[in-house]
């Protein structure tokens, strides 16, 4: 049904528009018809009026003659001729063929009439047709007696029924009478236009003619005017509008036989009006018809325009309706689709957010309404039917300690002072349970009014209670660690102080022991036996080694305490210092020291004296633990590794078992007895401590009886910038 609706509406619109068009068209057509009829009627009335006026004018001529004859005899030809001449019949009277006199002649008076006429007028005068009847009505005079009017006189008009009927009516009424359609007697051509005659009776002068009887008794003749119908019509004043046909029929019968006049072509018009014109006892039927082109010339021609235009407009209206209706449907479909997609999108987001454990909220800042998802309520601990429909309700749920901060930050965000597209707040909320829930609330303005004022904010709510508890644990551990570090630093400081003080103070008794041993040997040496001297030598050696130990321990403790600040230094100088210090030893061992050329370029952050000590200890170690089977070769090389330099010092000495790699860096750690290799076991510990102070690392690669490579790293000087 909904699919048919646009079609039905379009069809209904079309039907309505067509109906309106039809109504307007019909109204216009009726109006046009009425107008056309009125115009035709007016034109017809105009013509009939002009005919009546013309007939009336001719009637006056006849009445003039009748009046003249009240004092004169019908035989007074000169008087009648002068009368007609005095009329000055000009072009306005071209319809008149002739004005004449007809005399009433009884059969008994026929001979006298003939005699008079032959004597006074025409010698060969005779009646024609010469028939015997009670009365004759011969034409005795025509004026003007010219042209066709000169046809022989004596035509007996009584012999012709049409004329006779009019003559009798005229006689009986005493009024003008018009004949029916006839051929004028004066016509000589075979084909002549129809004519008619107006008769007015003439009575004997001085005799009464008030009644039909008196009129019959005192009638002497008639004065008449004959007309050619075409000439008569042409003499009318005024003009006929183009496009109209006028037909005049004699009597009321409208046949070819009775037609006495026709203007224009004999084409049947669409419209015709008729009028029966009764004049002087005779009827003419006037028919005015409009030719096909008349309405276009004189009438409103809006009917076709309305029909075509209305139909076109109706069609356009229907199409427009269809487009509008279907557009609405299309728009609805698109809106439905978009709504559906939006709903699905929202559902997906809601599902994703809810699935991720986040709640969703939506605030209308204009109305103060708030919409919260089930998960939101679940996080806060609200039941499903809990009223959280307003922002104010939400405010009431915030922990009192957090409320001021949260509302202030919200106000800052909404006012735009925060200049951030979104916000994230951590605070505590509580709804229906005793415990507070730590939440992370994220939000964003998604709609503003015309002035830019925010009207809608949406966001998510995450439960961060667990994370908050972890944070607290971590913070506590951190605090504890910090405390331990503090204690440890103090302990280290104290230990270093102890080592320094101890080593420093230990040397004093050692020196005393050593001095008194030397004094004892010097003063009492000669008296002592060999064992005692040997023992004394052991004691003095022990004291000496103890002093060496204390001295190195003092150096070890001084690495952190008495080191110079780290500065940019080249490695070649410390390396040269170290090899210089070991010159004798190198020579004794016959060792070769090979230094990579890159060492000349390397610049590191370091304490030059400690770096020299570092090189010296490691090279000395390589010399000390050289292989007895080969001359020692010691290589010093450097290689960049990121922000550090890897310095490698390799030898071909006796090597170290891998299990001792860590141990050798411990203080007082020795892999060999003092008998085999002299030493205190502090050298590599000092190296490690120097490297650690420089922020680097130290390690080794070694293979027994093949050699050892010590690798330490120093920071590139570029890091100081």
């Amino acid at each position: 049904m909904s699919r048919l609706r646009p079609l039905l509406l379009s069809a209904l619109t079309l039907a309505l528009a067509l109906a309106v068009t039809w109504l307007v068209w019909r109204h216009e057509r009726r109006a046009a018809d009425a107008e056309l009829s009125a115009q035709l009627d007016y034109a017809l009335r105009s013509v009939s009026g002009r005919i009546e006026q013309r007939i009336s004018a001719y009637e006056q001529i006849l009445l003039g003659a009748q009046g003249m004859m009240t004092t004169l005899s019908i035989k007074d030809r000169q008087a009648f001729s002068r009368y007609v001449q005095s009329l000055q019949l000009d072009a306005n009277f071209t319809g008149i063929q002739t004005v004449g006199l007809v005399e009433l002649v009884s059969e008994a008076g026929k001979a006298a009439h003939l005699a008079h006429m032959r004597r006074a007028v025409i010698a060969d005068y005779s009646l024609h047709p010469d028939e015997e009847r009670e009365f004759h009505a011969p034409i005795i005079q025509r004026e003007p007696y010219l042209g066709e009017s000169r046809n022989p006189l004596g035509y007996d008009t009584w012999s012709e029924p049409v004329r006779r009927q009019s003559l009798e009516r005229s006689r009986d009424t005493g009024q003008v009478s018009i004949t029916g359609k006839l051929r004028l007697q004066m016509e000589t051509e075979a084909q002549v236009p129809p004519g008619f005659i107006m008769y007015l009776p003439l009575f004997a002068p001085g005799l009464p003619h008030d009644t039909p009887t008196l009129r019959r008794a005192n009638l002497v003749g008639w004065v008449y005017i004959s007309f050619r119908m075409t000439d008569f019509m042409n003499s009318l004043y005024g003009e006929q509008p183009p496009g109209l046909n006028l037909q005049i029929h004699d009597g009321v019968e409208q046949s070819q036989e009775h037609r006495i006049y026709q203007s224009g072509d004999d084409v049947a018009g669409e419209r015709r009006v008729s009028e029966y014109l009764l004049m002087a006892g005779h009827t003419w039927t006037l028919t005015m018809s409009a030719r096909q082109d008349y309405p276009r010339q004189h009438s409103r021609d809006a009917v076709l325009l309305i029909a075509v235009g209305g139909t076109g407009l109706a069609t356009l209206l229907a199409l427009l309706t269809w487009v509008m209706v279907t557009a609405q449907a299309r728009a609805q479909r698109i809106a439905t689709l978009m709504t559906s997609e939006l709903r699905e999108s929202e559902q997906r987001w809601a599902f994703a957010l809810e699935g991720a454990g986040d709640g969703v909220w939506d605030w209308n800042l204009l109305t103060g309404e708030a919409v919260n998802s089930p998960r939101w309520k679940d996080i806060v601990g609200c039941s499903a039917d809990c009223d959280l429909s307003t922002i104010e309700r939400w405010k009431a749920l915030i922990h009192p300690e957090d409320r001021g901060r949260v509302l202030a930050m919200m106000d800052e965000y909404i006012s735009g002072a925060a200049a951030s597209p979104s916000f994230a707040l951590e605070y505590r909320l509580r709804c229906c349970r005793d415990s507070w829930t730590w939440v992370l609330c994220r939000g964003m303005i998604i709609a503003r009014d015309d002035t830019g004022k925010p009207v809608r904010i949406i966001g998510t709510l995450s439960d961060i209670t667990e994370r908050k508890s972890y944070d607290e644990i971590i913070a506590a551990k951190g605090r504890e660690l910090e405390h331990l570090n503090t204690n440890l630093a103090a302990s280290n400081t104290e230990l270093e102080m102890f080592a320094y003080v101890a080593s420093h103070d230990l040397r004093e008794p050692l020196r005393m022991v050593s001095s008194y041993l030397s004094l004892l040997e010097r003063r009492y040496g000669p008296g002592l036996d060999k064992d005692a001297l040997e023992f004394l030598g052991y004691a003095r050696d022990g004291a000496k080694r103890m002093d060496q130990l204390v001295l190195e321990l003092l150096d070890f403790s001084r690495i952190d305490r008495r080191g110079s600040p780290l500065t940019v230094i080249g490695l070649s100088a410390p390396l040269a210092q170290a090899t210089g210090n070991l010159r004798v030893l190198i020579k004794e061992a016959g060792a070769s020291i090979i230094i990579g050329p890159e060492l000349e370029e390397i610049q590191v952050l370091g304490d030059a004296s400690q770096i020299a000590r570092l090189f010296q200890n490691i090279i000395e170690n390589a010399l000390k633990y050289r292989s007895p089977n080969r001359e020692p070769v010691i290589r010093v090389e450097g290689r960049r590794s990121g922000d550090f330099w890897d310095i490698r010092i390799s030898d071909n000495g006796i090597g170290i078992e891998p299990q001792y790699f860590e141990r050798i860096f411990g203080i007082f750690q020795r892999l060999h007895t003092r008998d085999k290799y002299d030493g205190t076991g502090i050298g590599l510990a000092v190296c490690k401590k120097i490297i650690e102070r420089h922020g680097g690392t130290i390690g080794l690669e070694s293979e027994p009886d093949r050699g050892t490579t010590f690798i330490f790293t120093l920071r590139d000087s570029a890091l100081s910038r």
């Binding site: 009726r30 009335r45 009424t173 005493g174 009644t211 019968e253 409208q254 029966y276 009764l278």
Partner: protein, 262 residues
């Protein structure tokens, strides 16, 4: 006694202007039109002719009678070129230029051909093939006017300047109906129309007919004088007597005795 004399004096004073006849200082004109029993030029007789003769006799004025088409009469009355005509009926338009003195009242009828198969006025109006013939400028009763106006709008009217052609056209079936009055009854017989026609009555009250007086030609006091003459003719039975010359007594009485409610 004094009171009676005073009353008589008042009556004499009040009726004295009415007693004075119309102004006959100039020849007056009266138009006749040929219409059934109202006037026939063939016989030079008719109701209007008789009414005119009586008016002339009572007024003592010289009145020239002229025979002319009815439309022409109305035209001349409007222009003031004609003083009187007879047997006219009014309408608002005519009231602008003419005033009337009623003397007869009659109904109008639709004379319709039998072969038109029309039973009612509505039947005739519905059939677009049927035409009516009317005399130009004639108005009829309310129903008659409505029918004519409706048919006129549908181009179903043939005009005539006189009554006689309409009978002929009806007989020849060029028109199928015409509107007639009692004046036309005898003509129906004469023209042998009766056999082929039937009469349908308009449901209208009788329409008064009277002397038509040109407002332009006659001052109001003169109009009143002529109206008084007509009223006198009605009051003394002259009108009824004239009508009885042409109609059966009952019809004459019906036509003459009506309540004059202008």
């Amino acid at each position: 006694m004094i009171r009676s004399l005073f009353a008589a004096l008042v009556i004499l004073i009040s009726i004295s202007p009415a007693m004075a006849g119309p102004d006959c200082s100039r020849p007056l004109t009266l138009g006749l039109h040929e219409h059934g029993l109202l006037y026939s030029s063939d016989t030079d007789t008719g109701i209007d002719k008789d009414i005119a003769a009586e008016l002339i006799r009572r007024s003592g004025c010289k009145v020239t009678l002229s025979l002319m088409p009815r439309a022409r009469i109305w035209q001349l009355i409007e222009n003031g070129a004609l003083d009187f005509s007879l047997s006219g009926i009014t309408n608002p338009e005519r009231d602008r230029f003419a005033t009337f003195a009623w003397y007869i009242s009659n109904k109008y009828y639709l004379l319709v051909r039998n072969d038109a198969k029309v039973q009612t006025l509505a039947d005739f109006e519905r059939d677009p093939a049927l035409k009516i013939g009317i005399i130009r400028s004639f108005r009829y009763s309310q129903g008659g006017n409505r029918l004519v106006d409706s048919l006129q709008a549908a181009n179903r009217v043939s005009q005539s300047s006189g009554l006689a052609p309409l009978y002929e056209a009806l007989a020849l079936n060029q028109i199928q109906a015409m509107i007639i009055e009692p004046f036309d009854y005898p003509v129906l017989d004469e023209k042998k129309i009766k056999d082929i026609t039937r009469i349908i009555e308009f449901n209208d009250p009788p329409v008064p007919h009277g002397v038509i007086m040109s407002k332009k030609a006659l001052p109001e006091p003169e109009q009143e004088k002529w109206r008084t003459l007509i009223n006198d003719m009605r009051a003394d039975g002259t009108v009824r007597q004239i009508l009885r010359r042409y109609f059966p007594p009952e019809l004459a009485t019906t036509m003459a005795d009506f309540v004059d409610t202008p």
